[in-house]
Structure formats: C-alpha cells, structure tokens
C-alpha cells in the first residue's frame, strides 16, 4: 500500500505486472465469491426479512429513535464513555506519580513502583474488577473504573518511562547543571518532552481502555453491550444480528475516531519537529549538533 511495503519487491517488470493482474482478478473473484456465498447462505436462512427495520422503525412499540437512544445515550454515553471519562483523568495523575517514583533516587520508592508496574501489567483487568465487586463491595461502575485505573496506570507509566528513556541524556544533564533539583528536572524538562513524543501511544491506550469497559458486561455494569443484550432479549431472538452489528459499528466508529486523532497528532508533531530542527540549523550556536540526536 504505502511505498515502504513495496520495498520487499523489485519494481515489477512486464511479466510480473501481468502476473499481478491475473492474481488480482483471481483473488477478487475468490473474495467476492465468498462474500456472495455468505450472503446467499444467510438469505436462505431468512436473515434478510423485516428484522432490520428495528434499526429505523423500531419494534414492539419502540420507535427506531428510541432504540438508538438506548444504544447511544444509555449504553455508549452513560455507560461506556462515563467509565472512560472517570478513569482517564485518574490514570493520568497516578501514572505521572508512578513514573516520577520509578525514576526516584531512593530504592525504597523506586522498587515498589517498579513492582507495581510489572505486577499489574500481568494481571487480567477482569480479576481486578471481580476483586472490586466481591472484596471491596464496589458498585459495578466503580469496580470497572478500579480495574481500568489499576491496569492502565501501570501501562501508561511504562509508556512514559520509555519516552523518558528515548530522550537524549543531555536533557537531564542540562537540567541538573543549571541547578534544577532532580524532581524539577523530571517535571519541567524530561516529562513534558516524554509526553510529547509518546502522545500517539498514549492516545492509542485510550482505545484499549475504551474496549476494556466492555468487561463491565460480565459483572452487570450497564454499558453498550449490556444495553444491546437487554434490547435483543426484549425484542426477541431474531433481532440479535442487527443489534449486535449496530453495537459493533458504534465501537468501531468511536475507536477509529480516537485512533485517527492519534495519527493526526503524530503527523502534526513530526511536522512541528521538522520546523524546530530547521530553525535550529540557522542558529550558529547549535549548528554543530549532530543530526539524528533528537528524540525518535
């Protein structure tokens, strides 16, 4: 697709072009044939009847608008996104604290922080959620938030650590040598840069967090999947397929929107950095800096 992937192949000659064209036709036929076969098979099982009307006309006295209101408002906004909105700020604060603790000079601070990241990256979120429900008697929402916070704090701290490690050493040395304390160097020099480089990875983590809210379904937290299941249990078995596909489309749309934010930011950051580098080279003082020393 991109030019980079074609690196594996030589520029195609006349023979290869013909061969690729034949493959293109053959595989198009195979894939379209497969899709058509699925469609015909589904049609013969009567899948293309009036059940799809639930998505616009509704069913059983529910209007289509009410169905979407349930899915988007009760499920997505008041369930899934609410848990995300509560968890993300808590994760941001705790992950910063944990990252700073991991870089602390004292081993009494450093090692517990190191242990926390390793242990909670290796334990299922669902186990933590169950712990919240059973041991701490939390309501479903708070159990889900607890699971998301504990796991994602560990992961985000790890991302930030990698970001700090990717900075040139001179950044920290310069901070210390102008008389900043190690903590001030971390807060004012290293972390802002690390967050900046790692912003795309941090935003991708939001997609992971968003998908993990669906674990709430298992403990009975009312989020998008729970609402979907309640709806098709109410409407009847034949409405399962349209409603599950609608839920999937909602998840995919939201996640792709978040991912595209990450891609957009990545491009913007890269452009911004290029401008900074270009500006630096005009400056006689830093013109001698070897290229490729910058982050990333």
């Amino acid at each position: 697709m991109s030019e980079k992937q074609q690196v594996l192949y030589d520029v195609p000659g006349p023979k290869a072009i013909v061969r690729d064209k034949i493959y293109t036709v053959v595989f198009s036929v195979v894939i379209l044939g497969g899709l058509a076969w699925f469609a015909i098979d589904a049609y013969q099982r009567g899948l293309f009847d009036d059940r799809w009307q639930v998505l616009w006309d509704g069913a059983k006295g529910f209007s289509g608008l009410e169905v979407w209101n349930r899915l988007l408002w009760d499920g997505l906004v008041l369930g899934t996104l609410k848990a995300v909105a509560i968890a993300v700020p808590i994760v941001a604060v705790l992950a910063l604290v944990l990252t700073i603790a991991r870089q602390a000079p004292s081993r009494w601070v450093k090692w517990p922080a190191y242990g926390f990241t390793h242990v909670f990256r290796g334990i299922p979120v669902l186990l933590i959620i169950y712990f919240g429900v059973i041991a701490l008697n939390l309501k479903p929402l708070w159990a889900v938030v607890l699971g998301l916070v504990v796991y994602n704090t560990a992961v985000v701290a790890e991302i930030l650590r990698a970001g700090i490690a990717a900075l040139p050493r001179g950044q920290k040395e310069a901070g210390l040598s102008v008389g900043l304390s190690p903590l001030a160097t971390m807060m004012r020099i290293q972390l802002p840069q690390a967050i900046r480089i790692m912003l795309p990875a941090l935003i991708s983590q939001i997609v992971v967090l968003l998908k993990d809210t669906s674990l709430g379904f298992i403990i009975g937290y009312v989020e998008l999947l729970t609402v979907t299941k309640t709806l098709y249990n109410f409407f009847g078995n034949s409405y399962v397929v349209p409603l599950i596909l609608a839920a999937a489309v909602i998840y995919i749309t939201v996640n792709m929107a978040v991912s595209s934010l990450a891609t957009w930011l990545e491009g913007r950051l890269r452009r911004a950095r290029r401008q900074v580098t270009a500006g630096e080279q005009d400056d006689p003082l830093v013109a001698g800096t070897p290229a490729g020393q910058g982050p990333l």
């Binding site: 992937q5 690196v7 293109t24 595989f27 195979v30 059973i134 997609v207 809210t213």
Partner: protein, 217 residues
C-alpha cells in the same frame, strides 16, 4: 489462601484450562496473524484490502463483543454453532489476537531500511533469499518485544472466557471468593499469582531483549 489449598485440584484444572486456551489460541492466532501480515504486504490488491478491512474491524471491536457475537449472532448469521466454553474461547481469541500479531509483524518489517532490501537484490539475491537472509533477521529483533506484549495481553484476555461459561482461573476466583467470604483477599492474590507465573517471565524477557537491542543499534 486456605480456600485455594483446599481446592487445589480445581485451581490446577482452571490453570491448565487457561493455559490451554492461551496456547491453542496463541498458536492459531500466530498462523492467522502471519497470513494476514503477508496479505497486507502482498502486491495483490484484493488480498491487501481484505486483510486491512479485517484488521481494522476486529482490532477496534472489544473481545467481549466478539464472544457475544459467537454466542448469539454467528448461529443466525453464518449458521455456525460454536460449542460454548473452551472451543468458543479459542475461536474468538484466535480471531482477535491475530490482528495484533499482524500489526506487530507488519511494523517490524517496515522498520527495516529500504536500502537493506535494495542492497540484497542488487547483489543478486532472490526474493526468498532477500526475505529470509536480510529482511526477516533484522525485522525479528524489532518484532519480538511488541509480539511478547501482544501475547501478555493475550494470556490476560483469556479471562473474558470467564463471562462465557468457561471454568478458567478468573471464573474459579469468582466462585471460590463467593463461597469463602473470609478468604477473599487470599484467593484473589493466589489467582493473580497464577497469572503472573505466565506473564512475568514474558514481560521480563521483553524488557531485557529490548535493552539488548537498544545496545546493538
């Protein structure tokens, strides 16, 4: 912890169930993921389109939704009835994890410089030689750490099966904790430890490998 020791045979069976789901789905996901990566890198446009669409859709769907799809929608949509429990867990997790395997491998191959493949071709190596002697050995080192992270997540994701009638570790933790209210903390700590036995070696390997690679480059 007492409740765990009393129910050690149940715990052991749950542990092997979790491990079996993780290994079986892990191997299948690797095969399917490599196939998808090959599709995405292939010069044949329809294969690329198919793999890209598959990866985009499945990667952005929560695993719980894929389980729910297999349980309730697949029988009507495809006429496919997967037995609830371990088989459904293995199938759902294979389909899900493969997309992450595909992305890890793809970004690894992309990290190898253009000049490497060009140099290999210009000294007369064939396509297979270029791939196996020059590109893949270099891609390998940047693929391993993200791939290990994919598999750590994969092992933990087996816990979703607890919500779909599979007696694996998290389901057993839930059951024992409800039956032994006095020993809740010990039960969760024990089951957490059982997961760490599987995931910690992997995360430590990934970290040491990463620092080795960092020195080598």
């Amino acid at each position: 912890m007492g409740a765990l020791i009393e129910n050690s045979d149940l715990l052991w069976r749950a542990f092997t169930t979790t491990l079996w789901i993780a290994v079986a789905a892990g191997v299948l996901a690797f095969v399917w993921g490599v196939t998808l990566a090959a599709f995405r890198a292939s010069p044949v446009a329809p294969l690329r389109t198919f793999a890209t669409a598959y990866v985009t859709v499945v990667r952005n769907t929560p695993l719980t939704l894929i389980f729910l799809f297999m349980l309730n929608a697949a029988p009507q949509l495809f006429g496919l009835v997967v037995p609830l429990g371990v088989p459904m867990a293995i199938l759902s997790m294979t389909l899900y994890t493969a997309t992450f395997v595909c992305e890890a491998i793809r970004s690894g191959i992309n990290s190898v410089g253009v000049g490497q493949a060009e140099a290999a071709r210009s000294v007369g190596l064939t396509f297979v030689q270029t791939l196996s002697l020059v590109v893949l050995p270099q891609a390998f080192r940047s693929v391993i750490p993200p791939l290990i992270n994919v598999y750590i997540a994969h092992i933990k994701n087996t816990s979703v099966a607890a919500g779909f009638a599979t007696t694996e570790l998290v389901a057993v933790a839930n059951r024992l904790a409800n039956g032994n209210p006095g020993d809740v903390v010990g039960i969760f700590a024990g089951v957490g430890l059982a997961f760490l036995v599987m995931t910690l070696p992997l995360s430590i390997t990934a970290e040491s490998f990463e620092s080795k690679v960092a020195v080598a480059r």
